[in-house]
Amino acid sequence: MIDTCADCLRRTELIAWLAGRIEHEWRLRCGRPQLLALPDTELLRWAKDPDAERRYSAFAAGFAIDRLVATGLGAVCRCSPAYPAGLRELCDPPAVIHIAGDPALLAADGVALVGARNPTPYGLEIARALGRALGAAGVTVVSGMAMGVDSAAHAGALEAGRTVAVLATGADRPYPARARTLHRRIAETGCVVSELPPGFAPRRWAFPARNRLIAALSAGTVVVEGGERSGSLITADFAAELGRFVGAVPGPVTSRMSAGPHALLKAGAEVIRSAEDTLDLLHGAGAAGGLGVADPVVVGKGPRALAPRPEPAPPPPDLPPGLRRLLDEVERGRGSLAELVSDPERGFAVSRDLGELELRGLIRRVSGGRYIRSADAA
């Protein structure tokens, strides 16, 4: 569906032409350029770019529309009634939003799950589990398709439900390049959007700008992990500015990767311990119980899609005492054989039991050969 007016298309192209100029400005000021809020005439006056001026006055909407058709993207401009309502609340709403996938997911009733690009195994595990549980509960998961937490949240949501990726490049261009498969899968079952024209290459200023769209396209933002200066905090700021809820997943106070969420919590963000906490924020406390048991037909993923539970799941009652003790140890972070065993004679028994717990889905192996408690045990 292409529903755009010539003015909005021209505005989008103008920003693409001035991308290099904006990048320069961004590096000097090192903040989000307020430039995106300026009207076209002032942007042109600021840029003093004769080439852009010439192209601006010679702009023909036909070419831009032909290109959209060629890439197969949908597009909606802010003059159209189909424009996502959540974006209108921004002070600088994008002129055109480019869409690959189902535009119905842009109703801003989902949850943004964002975080570090280099998370710890714990952060990855939480992001994936939250994504999956929210997806299973029928909540759209919004994120930025970056490496780390974002990708894990998308991947988790894809297992059980639907997800929206907001890109800082053209919506037809997977970034980072290794997210190609993820990009395709999201576009097939969910939705990939961007305010930038097709084929737009990555620019540094585009990422914080993209974060405002993530915040605006969701009912609230949850930060899973991130450093003190993480881009996820920018998303959280936007969400707070827009009056949406902000949640943060706590972690060890010694972990650099949890410094960001902890700063948010200090500033008054909600504690997110589970998908249930998120659903409480979304629908009001207690509503999650009813909503969590989503109709399996709607969610379409069988019994696993039932209830998002508090994490970690309580061990099943039939666990023998030895295994339960071992599970307790792993929960306390002693996740490698070297930490669990002090008598070499017990090495075999403990590794056998770890294997048993893994087969039961209670623990999960992460990179580095360690085990952690899995957050979404069946």
Partner: protein, 505 residues
Amino acid sequence: MLSQVTSFAIDGVETRRVTVEADIRLGLPAFNVVGLADKSVREARERVRAAITNSGFEFPQKRITVNLAPAYLRKEGPHFDLTLAIAVLAASGQIESDRLRDCAVAGELALDGTLRAIRGALALAEGARHHGLGRLLLPSARAREAALVPDLEVLGVTTLQHAVEVLRGSAPTPELPDAPLGAAGDRDDFDLADVRGHNGLVAQIEVAVAGGHHLFLQGPPGTGKTMIARRLPTLLPPLSESEAVEVTKIHSIVGLHQGDGLVGERPFRSPHHLISPSGLVGGGATPRPGEITLAHRGVLFLDELSEFNRAALEALRQPLEDGRVVVVRAQRVLTFPTGCMLVAASNPCPCGDGGDRCRCSAPELARHQRRLSGPLLDRIDISVTVPRPTAAKLRDERAPTSAEVRARVAAARARQVLRLRGTPATCNAHMTAAMLRELAQITPSARRRLFELHDSEGLSARGHHRVLRVARTIADLQESREVGPEHVQAALILRTDAAPAALAA
């Protein structure tokens, strides 16, 4: 007059017979060496001339031509000095030619006629016996080593004069110098008991050593990865006599072996990560065994695996699988044995801290992961995490001694040898998929266990076989005839597969 003396050229780790012919005729005095001799052999002329004169013999003032046959084979090394000298003396009638008929000669000469030790004495002796020669004349410093070859009379001599007397029969056949055969060697330097705070790892390491599985150690710097790796050779059963001969031969050729007898300890080689592909697997203009061959029957340790040149690691794959490496050069094809246990170590990430304290950027981490997850890691059955030990563990935990572990390993190895009789494999790590199916005695319930994991998380077919091989070794260590579900479970924790790529991305 004409004379012929036999010697051997070392070609890789094999020997080729070389006939040294000397011809003396009237003409302007000259001394020429022909027959594809390299620089060190042509320089021998000066040493031979000086040594003959200084030993009280006469150096003929005539036209001397020495030919090294076969002419297509490149000859190098100073051990042709003595051969040339004896050939010249025989051609000038100072030694009777028939005394040289069944005798091979090798040795490096000093200008005063004394003999210096040479490399590769064991290989030369094997060559001599292989070609049906009854006697080998060489410097006495290496006589003991050469005498390891049975059915060969080794004549260890100290000077050129001594050599001539022995050949003439005017001096008695020299006694072999008394030197203890370095059988079991002293293993006191390194013992597993030195390792503190890692008792949880002992079982895992024991499995790797018992099954001959290649091992990957991952952990922050300074936690003891190198210390553990250095002690692995002491956990392997002692070298058998034939293994010791193989190792001694290789080490003697490259000059690593300085003692007199057999190499007693299993080799441990830890090349630096800047090593070239040919340094690792063997090669060069005149092919020389690489580190993997020097580690034959022992342990090859690659510290900081992710820092190694990718080409070098790629080159390791095929030798690790085949147990030998074939080096092809324009003139020849050489085969080196490469039957070693590979132990690789790496930090969890480039900054080394890993986990919460990691300071690496995402691309750095991705690059590190990519380097580690290469095809080489596909050949490694067992992955072990070496965490930073706590103070309490450092204080209280002391690993069992190497001898204790060695005994259990030897018992497990004996079971494997028995089971794998009649196959090319000698330990579980070398079992193919077919052998696993037919010989490993895996119970149906154990197989079911493994398939449960297949469903829950994509274990590759190769990963599947790796787990089964390791489970077989664990069962051997537990003295169990069959592989049960508990063995498969215990093997899971050792598997190499990293976290699913989609999430690590």
